[in-house]
Amino acid sequence: MKFLLIEDNYDLAQAICARMQLDGHVIDHAGTIADAIAFSDSGEYDLILLDVMLPDGDGRDFLRRHRAGKLTTPIIVLTARSQVSDRISLLDLGADDYVTKPFDHAELEARCRAVLRRNAGTAQTVTRVGNVAFDPVAGVLTVGETAVSLRNKELRLLEVLFNAPGQIFPKQKLVDRLFSYDDDVSENAIEVYIGRLRKHLEGSQLQISTHRGLGYRLDHD
């Protein structure tokens, strides 16, 4: 996925970019509306993340301009204003969704996925490895001819493993990537999801191997 992040706070932008890249996305960062317009005119993005307060104007103006130009790239607004009336006005202006700062990255990720799913058909998101096809947006894993709809956590887990084949992920890292911090999750939960994914991947050329004391790895025959 290719994202455009429009956010004037450099530190926050760096943190979001790092996290997005960790998930295997490509992300461009614009600090002003002018930069954002230049970026969005020159590149095709799957999704735009937009801050409302920017040094050279209001993010809502960008939103208006974007929608007036009949551009269909979905936009998720990052807003510091939590009041319902503000959120509603954002949606009325044509935002596809919003998250309130400070946000849980898992929530931002879930909202991005939901928005991309609603705007399905705009991007080719399927990754193929051998006889396995994985569509993280639709949440569908196809092994040979059999398609399985994955639950969110299975999907996230597979996505993490898929984006870094050959890398060993400790259980704890996987917990951090998959769960929000208001969840009290034991590391055993990961074992459950790994078990399910292994079942889904039966008959494919991919398997998840356990490395005692280290973690899990996605292997290709």
Binding site: R81, Q83, V84, E107, K153, R177, D182
Partner: protein, 455 residues
């Protein structure tokens, strides 16, 4: 809402009192003027007949054989006949000596030259009108001053006067009544624009600070101008405080977001358990504080709006389904299914922003307490009143604490480890109350909490 307003009289009463009082004074004045004018005219009528009677008697007087002879015609008295049989008195004097008639008639100084003079006096304990005239009779051997005086009681006259008075009084009363009606109409017509202005200002929504543009009478222009100025200033200061809140939120929340994102990223790189625990606590603290700030702002907004509900016709099903779409990603994150069970449409009137906020809080709660890979059921029903029922498959409300849970900053004893401010149900309860409804908390027989928001 007249609390705090000192009332000093009423424009309507003041105007009505002035108009009615004026009308009463006018009616009484009219009565006396017409009555006295009528009396004057009636008196003139009696006087002219009395005068004619006196003249006819005087004319009949002659000097014959050195004596004064008065052989006055029958008509002299018959012309004085009235329907109420007024009594007639007369006296004929020759040089102050009574020749004929009643003795002791009130004296009157006749004008010289045959013209009659008149006065009103008492005779035999009755008010009478008196006319007198005198004439110099000159014969061959006699020269006498002949004075004729005729009096008539005033029964007929006062009868006529009473009749006229009655009619004038009735006319005056009719006039007064008419003016009273007119006064009420005029008062209403004059107060009308003020009442319309009041209604149009009172009916406004809480955010509506537009100037009054409907036409008003010129006398109200200063009032409306100052009202518009006041609203413009209020709008400006509200706008400023909104900008301030937005700016403050931006200034506080953006760095918090930065800290949170960095903490999350750091967590990916840190291996020692105690460091990881510290990072997690930090992230939780940020979430708690930002959630509390958001809920406090929402609660303040709801308290403000609850007094001035911005009622609109809404479809409850639409509202709930929209909310389900918005909360879908949150449910997804926990692998919770959000099932909406609703009829085609449930029309209601209410404040969309408040209702969304309230129902969102209820569903948010259900999502927080629902176990992983369970279902949260949202049902919209119309019977017995429009209601939204939200049920989760979580631990349910602690029995015995249910009644206190909608209080401010109150959280269930099983809320450990779940981020919340203790304001969500308070908000939902306040919104339900503002819409004349209720929030009912309970546990479902099959387990899990069940919250009913009814109208």
């Amino acid at each position: 809402m007249t609390e705090g307003v000192r009332v000093s009289g009423s424009l309507r009463n003041r105007l009505a009192t002035t108009l009615i009082g004026g009308a009463a004074v006018l009616a009484i004045l009219l009565f006396f003027v017409v009555r006295s004018y009528a009396a004057q005219i009636a008196q003139q009528g009696q006087d002219s007949i009395l005068g004619a009677s006196v003249t006819s008697i005087l004319d009949a007087a002659s000097v014959r054989d050195g004596r004064v002879e008065v052989d006055f015609p029958y008509a002299s008295f018959s012309m004085l006949g009235t329907e109420s049989d007024d009594r007639i008195f007369y006296a004929i004097y020759q040089d102050d000596k009574l020749l004929s008639g009643y003795e002791g008639m009130p004296a009157i100084d006749p004008k010289v030259g045959g013209e009659s003079s008149y006065r009103t006096a008492e005779f035999q304990d009755t008010p009478v009108r008196l006319a007198a005239a005198s004439r110099m009779l000159v014969g061959a051997d006699l020269r006498a001053q002949l004075t004729v005086s005729v009096a008539q009681t005033q029964d007929s006259l006062s009868g006529t006067l009473n009749r006229i008075s009655r009619n004038v009084a009735m006319f005056g009363a009719g006039f007064f009544l008419l003016v009273v009606l007119l006064a009420f109409w005029a008062t209403s017509a004059a107060i009308g624009p003020l009442a319309r202005l009041t209604t149009s200002v009172a009916r406004r929504g809480p955010q509506d600070l537009r100037p009054v543009t409907s036409p008003v009478p010129s006398e109200m222009v200063p009032l409306v101008t100052s009202l518009n100025n006041l609203m413009a200033r209020l709008d400006q200061s509200l706008g400023r405080s909104e900008d301030f809140i937005a700016e403050a939120a931006h200034r506080v929340r953006t760095p918090l977001a930065t800290v949170r994102s960095h903490a999350e990223a750091t967590l990916q790189r840190v291996d020692r358990e105690e460091n990881r625990q510290a990072m997690r606590s930090m992230i939780r603290a940020i979430d708690e504080s930002s959630r509390a700030a958001g809920q406090l702002l929402d609660h303040a907004m709801i308290t403000f709006r609850a007094d001035h509900l911005d009622r609109q016709d809404l479809d409850l099903v639409d509202l709930v389904q929209d909310l389900a779409v918005r909360l879908g990603p949150i449910a997804d994150m926990r692998d919770v299914d959000l099932q909406v069970d609703a009829p085609v449409a449930v029309p209601i009137t209410g404040d969309a922003i408040l209702l969304q906020n309230a129902i969102r809080n209820i569903v948010d709660n259900a999502l927080k307490y629902a176990p992983r890979e369970s279902v949260v059921h949202i049902a919209v029903t119309t019977f017995p009143s429009p209601r939204v029922t939200v049920r989760d498959e979580g631990p349910g409300f602690p029995v015995g604490e249910i009644s206190g849970l909608s209080g401010r900053f109150t959280r269930g004893s099983n809320a450990d480890g779940i981020i919340g401010s203790g304001l969500g149900l308070t908000i939902a309860q306040d919104v339900a109350a503002a819409h004349g409804g209720a929030l009912t908390l309970g546990n479902h027989p099959k387990g899990g909490a069940c919250v009913i928001f009814s109208f």
